[in-house]
């Protein structure tokens, strides 16, 4: 595009054509506005032409279609959270990340499917459609950001935004052979992201390379006066930083937590991850075993904190101001009961009920308060490990993409899908999943690299070092 060989309009048109051709099978999109996207592409081409005439540079995202998970607000577009509750809701305002992407010249492209309100690990909990894994249409793309992962993997978007509360970016990235980055908590504004669990949620990119992920992160990161949990901290030039670290040839010290390689890990994944670790060793990295002793409490703590917060966050969906309103309600109380009973799906209800329970008087100390203490211990485990190592390397998901319906009836089995990713959210750390191989059956495998708080540059440099010596990203699904 910089060389003038391809215009944004041509790129957008080809993405739209690709989407029209494959999305009937992939089902990544809840909706898209092709005309609006083309208009944005034309505007981008005009900006590029003006900049060229003036001799000024344009940003790297200028004219690039970036898919948006349908839980992040784009002014004038539907915002459904893949829920009946918001089926016809159109958001009147831009999320901060959306505004920043637009300011960087990117085209906010389509509304990507997810597990309802981002609750799930397979995207089967969507009220509208089940997204397929482009590598095997019989299988799930992971979740909750399954639509974002599938769209990028299937060539329906150049990159995409997802949200990650317990692994919802990294796990689908692993299952779809993509780079998926969850930034440190507070690195990216959550304003305009429909809250699932406020203290865990973080927006991040899906991309086909570490470099692309770094470019998107650079565009969306930074303090936002509209989100008091976003940190007042300079946003570094990630790409420049990564390049500087690469040139320095610094040998990384990587930690391998023994707790992440136990029971339940698919042997093929274990082998692929071991292969990646060997590759790092081959580059001169120092590999050390580390211990994260409270790992086994993570799932329990996570499902208490996340459900507690979601029970409160989702209270606003009551049929009074917007969203689904039951037609049969007799009075205010009945309006709540019926609208919510009709509007929410079973997994969302399950979590609201669980969260309401753990916050109830008499149970608060035993559940919520204790979970917060566990959370502190889990973070301490990581910080202790970082005294010895620069980053921690683990599998992203214990299994490759599973068949649709395989775990849908067993919430606990589904929850275990996030066993390697949720500790990162509890600790507020940055984590990235990068491709590290395929199963014999041809399903992608992800490697998770976990970084230190706000050291995304180092994290991406470490991920990039492996990526540079592997060719997994060169493979594409056939559709």
């Amino acid at each position: 595009m910089a060389a003038g060989e391809v215009s944004s309009l041509e790129l957008m048109a080809s993405v739209i054509a690709r989407t029209r051709a494959v999305d009937g099978r992939v089902q990544a999109f809840n909706s898209f506005d092709a005309e609006g996207a083309l208009a944005q592409a034309r505007a981008s081409d005009a900006r590029r032409a003006r900049a060229k005439a003036a001799g000024s540079p344009v940003g790297p995202l200028e004219g690039i279609p970036v898919g948006i998970k349908d839980v992040i607000s784009v002014a004038g577009q539907p915002l459904t959270a893949s829920s009946r509750m918001l089926k016809d809701f159109v958001s009147p305002y831009d999320a901060t990340v959306t505004r920043k992407l637009k300011e960087a010249g990117a085209i906010c492209w389509g509304r990507l499917n997810l597990d309802e309100f981002a609750m799930g690990s397979s995207t089967e909990n969507s009220a509208f459609r089940v997204t397929s894994n482009p590598w095997d249409l019989e299988r799930v793309p992971g979740g909750s950001s399954g639509g974002s992962a599938a769209a990028v993997a299937a060539g329906e978007a150049i990159a995409a935004l997802g949200s990650d509360t317990g692994g919802s970016i990294r796990q689908p990235a692993a299952l779809c052979n993509l780079v998926g980055l969850k930034p440190s908590y507070g690195r990216v504004s959550r304003y305009g992201l429909i809250a699932f669990a406020s203290s865990l949620d973080q927006i991040g990119p899906f991309a086909r390379s570490v470099e692309d992920a770094a470019l998107v992160l650079r565009a969306i990161a930074g303090h936002d006066p509209k989100d008091s949990t976003s940190l007042k901290m300079e946003v570094p030039d990630y790409l420049g930083g990564i390049e500087a670290l690469r040139r320095s040839g610094r040998p990384w010290k990587l930690g391998i937590p023994k707790e992440y390689f136990g029971e339940g890990l698919d042997p093929e994944i274990g082998a692929a991850v071991q292969g990646a670790i060997d590759a790092y060793r081959g580059m001169g990295c120092e590999i050390r075993e580390v211990s994260l002793p409270h790992t086994r409490y993570a799932i329990g703590a996570y499902y208490i904190i996340a459900t507690a917060e979601c029970s409160s966050n989702l209270a606003r969906f009551d049929g009074v101001r917007y969203g689904h309103r039951s037609k049969d309600a007799k009075d205010a109380l009945d309006l709540y009961f019926k609208s919510r009973a009709e509007g929410f799906g079973p997994e969302v209800k399950r979590r609201i009920i669980l969260g309401t329970y753990v916050l109830s008087s008499g149970y608060y100390d035993a559940y919520y308060l204790r979970a917060q203490k566990v959370r502190t211990l889990i973070r301490r485990d990581f910080l202790e490990a970082y005294k010895q190592v620069d980053a921690i390397v683990t599998p992203t998901s214990p299994t490759p993409a599973f068949k649709k319906g395989e775990k849908a009836a067993d919430p606990l089995a589904m929850y275990l899908s996030d066993i390697y990713t949720i500790g990162v959210n509890l600790a507020g750390l940055p984590g990235v999943s990068i491709p590290c191989g395929f199963t014999k059956g041809g399903l992608p495998i992800g490697l998770q690299v976990i970084g230190q708080p706000f050291k995304e540059t180092e994290l991406l440099a470490i991920a990039g070092a492996y990526e540079a010596g592997a060719d997994w990203l060169g493979r594409h699904p056939t559709l």
Partner: protein, 481 residues
């Protein structure tokens, strides 16, 4: 057996801030429905609260004025409950760590007479915390509409200890609290606009007992007088129940100030479970010493302290101070006028009587008054110097009030200057004495009232422009010689 009342008040005070508690939408009253809203107020999906520092400044100021202990960290909790006037179906509030703890409100009870200061007492506070107000439901036929204009307005909840013993004390407490809030610029406390709201928890017990009786919560007390009347009514009702051998039932009652009656809203309700937990959207904010010091520097003198000072420093009567002090601007006005003329009592009289009367008649606020402290001071000086007579002074004041002219200008324009030529006065007095030898001998014989016989002729000669006080002095001087 005699009974004593045990009363605790929960007072909600809307803070006077430009914007709402957690967003930039404007705060206000009396505007078309749902115009003071934005995506955050309406709790649209994805929106987040961000704290309004001005609101925090104001509650800290309130805490400092009331002598509370200010928490080192401001922490927010969610109070979860469903109600259509609550956009998020949770209220951001402060649960286990209120921003202010302890403190007290100095009150003045009614004195034995209007012009005698009553007993002063301190009502201890339990806590003050900050939260957001909810919207308002408007019920129509078969439909209820919600107006979110009020939703998200910063609201301070002030909880007293159960140490109030009578309806009069409750009245005095609210009056003092309101004065203090207005003094500090914290709230306008207009009860008609819902800026100050009060619920009362009332129980009775045998006098001298230390245990607490069953409490009744009284709601809808929408004026300070209704609070007093409602509490008096409830104490009587409970006493009657107990004296007739019954038991007070724990319940919430609705007081109707118009009819002076109350009725049960709900009896001992199921305990609410608000499922409080720390709001993960808002980071705790440290309230450092510098911050507190900066606010302390803006704290005014407390009203009762000021009243004591005015009584001592200016020797103005209690009745005048009790008019001047509750209104901070009026007090400032007075002190400025007193400083300019050096005659605080005269200035106080003009302000407390004439100025307030004229402002009331014209329905004008003090800030819009054309009469300024310098006008009052000038007028006091003119009277003091004898340049005008007191009747004329009243006329000058009303003229100034309407035109804003300086008193000297009014006197000149209307020809109200008093006759002060001592030569003339002496001649008129001498003539009057010469013309009435009988009264001279009466006066010299000790008949004081004989002096009056000379005054009429002098005044006639002066065409009414002589100062009676000076005439009196001159006559006495001439007769003494």
């Amino acid at each position: 057996m005699t009974y004593e009342a045990v009363i605790g008040l929960e007072v909600h005070v809307q803070l006077k801030t430009r914007s709402k508690m957690f967003t930039r939408a404007a705060a206000g009253y009396g505007l078309p429905e749902n115009t003071l809203t934005d995506p955050v107020v309406l709790a649209l999906p994805g929106t987040l609260p961000v704290m309004n520092k001005e609101a925090l400044d104001k509650i800290i100021k309130a805490g400092l004025l009331l002598g509370c202990e200010i928490a080192r960290v401001c922490k927010w909790d969610r109070k979860n409950y469903f109600y259509p006037d609550s956009p998020k179906n949770y209220q951001i509030s402060q649960y286990d760590q209120p921003l202010c703890k302890g403190g007290s409100v100095e009150i003045e009870l009614p004195g034995p007479a209007r012009n005698v200061m009553g007993e002063h007492k301190r009502i201890e506070l339990t806590r003050i915390h900050l939260e957001e107000d909810v919207g308002k439901l408007n019920h129509g036929e078969g439909v209820s509409l919600v107006d979110f204009n009020r939703a998200g307005t910063p609201l301070m909840e002030i909880v007293s200890e159960p140490v109030i013993r009578s309806a009069d004390e409750a009245f005095a407490y609210l009056t003092a609290l309101k004065t203090l809030m207005i003094y500090g610029g914290i709230s306008d406390c207009d009860m008609e606009k819902g800026q100050l709201r009060c619920d009362a928890n009332i129980s009775i017990r045998p006098a001298g007992s230390t245990t607490l009786g069953t409490k009744v919560e009284l709601k809808n007390l929408n004026s300070i007088s209704f609070v007093r009347d409602g509490i008096a009514h409830e104490v009587c009702r409970q006493t009657a129940v107990v004296e007739s051998g019954g038991r007070v039932v724990q319940e919430t009652r609705d007081y109707d100030g118009q009819t002076g009656t109350s009725q049960s809203l709900r009896s001992k309700e199921m305990a609410h479970d608000y499922r409080y937990f720390p709001d993960p959207d808002l980071m705790p904010v440290e309230v450092g010493e510098d911050w507190k010091a900066a606010i302390r520097a803006t704290c005014p003198e407390l009203p009762f302290d000021r009243q004591r000072r005015l009584l001592e420093q200016y020797s103005v009567p209690y009745t005048i101070t009790s008019v001047l002090v509750p209104d901070r601007e009026l007090g400032d006005f007075f002190e400025e006028a007193a400083r300019l003329c050096g005659k605080p009592q005269a200035a106080g009289n003009w302000i407390a009587n004439d100025l307030l009367r004229e402002l009331g008649a014209a329905k004008v606020g003090l800030s819009d008054s054309k009469v300024r402290p310098a006008h009052v001071a000038g007028l006091v000086r003119l009277v003091e110097e004898g340049a005008i007579l007191s009747n004329a002074a009243k006329e000058v004041f009303i003229e100034m009030f309407h035109t804003g002219e300086a008193p000297e200008a009014v006197v000149a324009r209307k020809g109200l200057k008093a006759e002060t030529n001592l030569g003339d006065l002496e001649r008129w007095c001498a003539e009057a004495i010469a013309a009435n030898p009988k009264s001279v001998s009466d006066y010299k014989g000790g008949k004081e009232s004989a002096l009056n016989a000379f005054k009429g002729p002098v005044m006639r000669a002066a065409k009414g422009k002589a100062d009676p006080k000076r005439v009196d002095e001159m006559l006495r001087r001439l007769l003494a010689s």
